[in-house]
Symmetry: C2
Subunit: 147 residues, 2 copies
DNA sequence: TCCTTATTGATAATGATTATCATAATCATG
DNA sequence: CATGATTATGATAATCATTATCAATAAGGA
């Protein structure tokens, strides 16, 4: 299962003299088996379902590693803890979040992406990623409000 | 000093039966006297310069209040603690951050804003703000890298 | 297999934020 | 302008997410 991601991880590890371990395999399987937008505790729970001996610190460490290896993307939430989403073969996308019910729509907008490139050029910056979150009310919650 | 912001705060407080206090005045002055992008500790330090008796918890509470009153905007940083920036009569803007030296450029791009409106319409959402952060390398750091 | 080095899990430590609570300040009202 | 109901404060403890420490273990090249 998840042979491709495993290969990515192994290459990453070998390149810097790190080791492939049982714990790392377990966390990888747990993470990939979950939906995107998960917290470390979600991953810990899933990992312990596969191997009850996994420690919390290991999940923190391992997810950081995955982020660096390009397997996960991390984002801070205003409230609780960090969240992770799948990054391997998951195209970049932005988020549209409902401030009332919390629903999240993932989207990609070429016009936005293009305009961002123009901003980088304007200030002479080299691009290395961005984070865009649109907040608003989804159709349902908008309706409820205006009633 | 800062009569307008003070009036905003007073109206906000009165509307919900809250009280204007010396501590809130002090924190307001301290916050407005600082540059934007400040942490709670920055504000605490500035507030204690005006009144050494101010408690840390009060600053946390008060800044939350200010954010709700539209005087401050808060944003989470991936690393350390929350940061606040001025919100009253400070036009909305986005951030372009250098991942090497930490330099921050504030910008507004009409094309991006327009494209975002289109996204809201596409999904039937009502807009209530957004957060955009572009990451990259500033001209200086780009040069250093390519050497 | 052996040996060096990285990794693990448990636990303590940290740092940011929030809750608690007794005391003090605010302000609408009489 | 004194009163009283209520909110706010500051000190402290509590919580939550995350990181550091460390002795014991596992990986993997020689």
């Amino acid at each position: 299962m998840h042979r491709e991601e495993r290969a990515v991880l192994e290459r990453y590890l070998k390149e810097r003299g790190l080791k492939m371990t049982a714990a790392r395999e377990t966390v990888l399987e747990a993470f990939l088996g979950l939906e995107t937008h998960v917290t470390v505790d979600d991953i810990l729970e899933a990992a312990r379902a596969l191997d009850p001996g996994i420690g919390q610190a290991t999940v923190f460490r391992t997810m950081k590693l995955f982020a660096d290896a390009g397997l996960a993307r991390e984002a801070c939430r205003d409230d609780g803890g960090r969240q992770y989403e799948h990054a391997w073969r998951h195209a970049h996308h932005d988020h549209l979040t409902c401030v009332d019910c919390g629903k999240v729509v993932e989207f990609v907008d070429p016009a936005i992406e293009k305009a961002q490139e123009a901003v980088y050029r304007r200030y002479g910056f080299t691009s290395s990623g961005h984070r865009l979150e649109l907040f608003g009310r989804c159709p349902d919650c908008s309706k409820k409000r205006s009633r």
